[in-house]
Symmetry: C2
Subunit: 408 residues, 2 copies
């Protein structure tokens, strides 16, 4: 624990979320209050921005715009997918940290980014350079270990649940048979797709939910779909993009020969939903439709959960408070202390316990045969989607923060 004085640097990393900027707002606004913080820098495009000394001078921004970051989706200072390569990268980093007197380093991202954060922290310590390093958790995937849930997940879950309710009505209006397959993000963990259970519980479907936690079996899938098709005439299915067979094949790989290369030698046009919809159309001769939730599930700030926004913002603030109070090598994570009423605390968690770990849905929460999730999951997720965003609208449209992005 060292109480330092110097510049604070924030970087954003990995895929954007609806509330990643809410954490940035928390970081910047809190940093402005802290006497030990001299300059406040934001790295354009995460680690790459640091290595290129591409810094934004946050003290030159309007407070009003910084506050409105709370309601602005995506990565306002630019994100990156970059792994620190070798000793050279680390040495360069050290030179730059010294040059700008960076004494507080905050990195906002998922498990990869927490690993980066952890490595930087260790390297700086080894190099005898005093700097408090704090991870700011963020991911719609909700797959960070140790913590209860991750900022970004509640908003994505709210978007998925609401959209699935709407699609549930839309996909059933005709009196003809119809199968709708909705593809939701999540390569290894099914947290996002699980959120469709909220809509199912309200009575709007999906009928079937497939998560990557359970090996996907095509025959049993066909059987389940057929059963519902025969009784209800309409089937709505939610699938994680990352579902795999027990042999470890992703869905597009099931039809590899026709899909993986088009006329231009370019890989797979259709994703998981497209392929399943096509397989079902072929097998049962009914109209099918594939819907990909795509980018909007991670950037639809107009439908963000205010609970999530506030938690992301508070996480950012607490990260700065911790760093300036001498804490290092930790992330500030949310731990639930009570569900009814919903209560949380922000806890300091060792970066090494989160780095590169992946939290999946407990298997006992998943019903067999694509039947969805248990009430335990619903009790877990419901508090996270509460509260409508206080995003300001002007002329019928959201107003996003506009940063000047003056170079430091």
């Amino acid at each position: 624990m060292k109480n330092l004085k110097g510049a604070l640097l924030l970087g954003q990393s990995g895929g954007p979320t609806s509330v990643i900027n809410a954490s940035a707002a928390g970081v910047f606004l809190e940093a402005l209050k802290q006497e030990n913080v001299t300059d406040i820098l934001a790295a354009a495009h995460g680690i790459k921005g640091i290595l290129n000394e591409d810094f934004i001078d946050i003290r030159k921004e309007d407070i009003k715009e910084l506050e409105n970051l709370k309601y602005t989706p995506s990565s306002a200072i630019g994100s990156v997918r970059y792994k620190l390569k070798d000793e050279n990268d680390f040495n360069k980093l050290l030179v730059i940290f010294k040059k700008y007197n960076i004494r507080f380093f905050l990195y906002n991202g998922g498990n990869d980014s927490m690993d980066t954060c952890n490595k930087i922290s260790k390297f700086l310590k080894k190099s005898n350079y005093d700097c408090n390093v704090i991870g700011v958790p963020k991911t719609i995937d909700n797959d960070l270990a140790v913590i209860d849930h991750c900022p970004g997940y509640g908003s994505a879950a709210k978007y998925i649940a609401t959209s699935m309710m709407e699609i549930g009505l839309d996909a059933t209006v005709y009196d003809s048979k119809m199968i709708t397959v909705c593809e939701i993000m999540g390569r290894h963990a099914g947290w996002l797709t699980a959120a469709s259970q909220i809509s199912k519980e309200k009575g709007y479907g999906p009928d079937l939910i497939y998560l990557p936690e359970i090996a996907f079996d095509l025959d049993s899938f066909y059987k389940n779909v057929k059963e519902i098709l025969d009784t209800k005439g309409k089937v709505i299915i939610a699938v994680s993009e990352g579902i795999q067979t027990k042999e470890g094949l992703f869905i597009p790989e099931l039809v590899n020969s026709s899909l993986s290369k088009d006329a231009f030698g370019h890989a797979q046009l259709g994703g998981t939903a497209s392929v399943l919809a096509s397989l079902l159309a072929n097998k049962y001769g009914v109209k099918t439709r594939a819907v990909e939730f795509s980018l909007l599930q991670r950037c639809a700030s107009h439908l963000a959960s205010q609970t999530d926004i506030d938690e992301a913002f508070n996480t950012g603030k607490r990260c700065v408070k911790a760093a300036t109070a001498g804490v290092s090598d930790k992330l500030i994570g949310i731990v639930r202390t009570s569900n009814n009423p919903y209560k949380i605390v922000y806890k300091k968690i060792d970066l090494k316990d989160v780095a590169n770990e992946e939290k999946k849905i407990p298997l006992e929460w998943i019903l067999e045969d694509g039947k969805g999730l248990t009430n335990e999951y619903l009790e877990y997720v419901t508090p996270l989607i509460q509260g409508e965003t206080k995003q300001v609208k002007q002329n019928g449209l959201p107003v996003f923060a506009k940063l000047k992005k003056n170079k430091f």
Copy 2:
């Protein structure tokens, strides 16, 4: 003009919208007030429901649920795509109209449905059966002739503009080159895709907008994309699903051999955006992404325009008022009398003038080379997206109307 007394029948037809049920709410609530209306029937799945005598008894529904139809997307009583085939169909219809003493027939749909409506009206008149027939306009496509705009369009435009602003931020966070192609509905008219101009004007892109009104030229498309790729590094493109080359080919047909048949003999997996994204990835070797707005652009009631909701509701009410006042063979359409301040009137328009006509975007509103639309379009569309929906939320989710759907 005949003042009749008897049952009122409403049918919904064609693709759903966010506000088609707002019109139904207007029809039902107004019908409940009218002394000349005896029974109030809703045809399950439009014309098919009529031919099958599959009627819902609206007088048995709770008023509160009927009121909440205003905020419930999709076709609550079921929709249909069915063209009246022959004399048999018409004769059957007449027998059923007589049996239920249907004296007011309202049909809610787009130009095909207005044609159906017109034909029924003529047939009943020829058969000397007194019935006032009124069309209730509805379509997200906004392609109905004569009227200023169509209920359903404003909400879809608001969804597209808002989502495109969010995607505009999301698709530009990395420092690597990237092309994002967004596919928006609209087979022949580009009104929906045009709404992305609202986002462009706010500074969030898309960089390029392609509408079906202008023949699509692949070479000039490549050139335009390349120019932006070289200067900005990121390109966001909005395309109507219905864009065609001057030879009349849809985009998926450009790569026919590889796309139109997959391993299962089933037609095109990828749509317009997928194919364009694949072509661009192949040509420029950069990461591309295809985003289809899909069903949500027509059912995202959580982002509906309150202006649109109110207009759809009022249209429904006025249709009943007209029918019970003796008007027949008309639709009730919105005509704008002033833009600043925005003022409209509801006008009676001959069904025959709208039936099967298709209103496209005036060519003088479209800039060349995919550069977007003029200010005339923005002035036209801006009033239509105003007002946030008053949809009730409970536990973080919308509350949709639940009808009992008692058989009549």
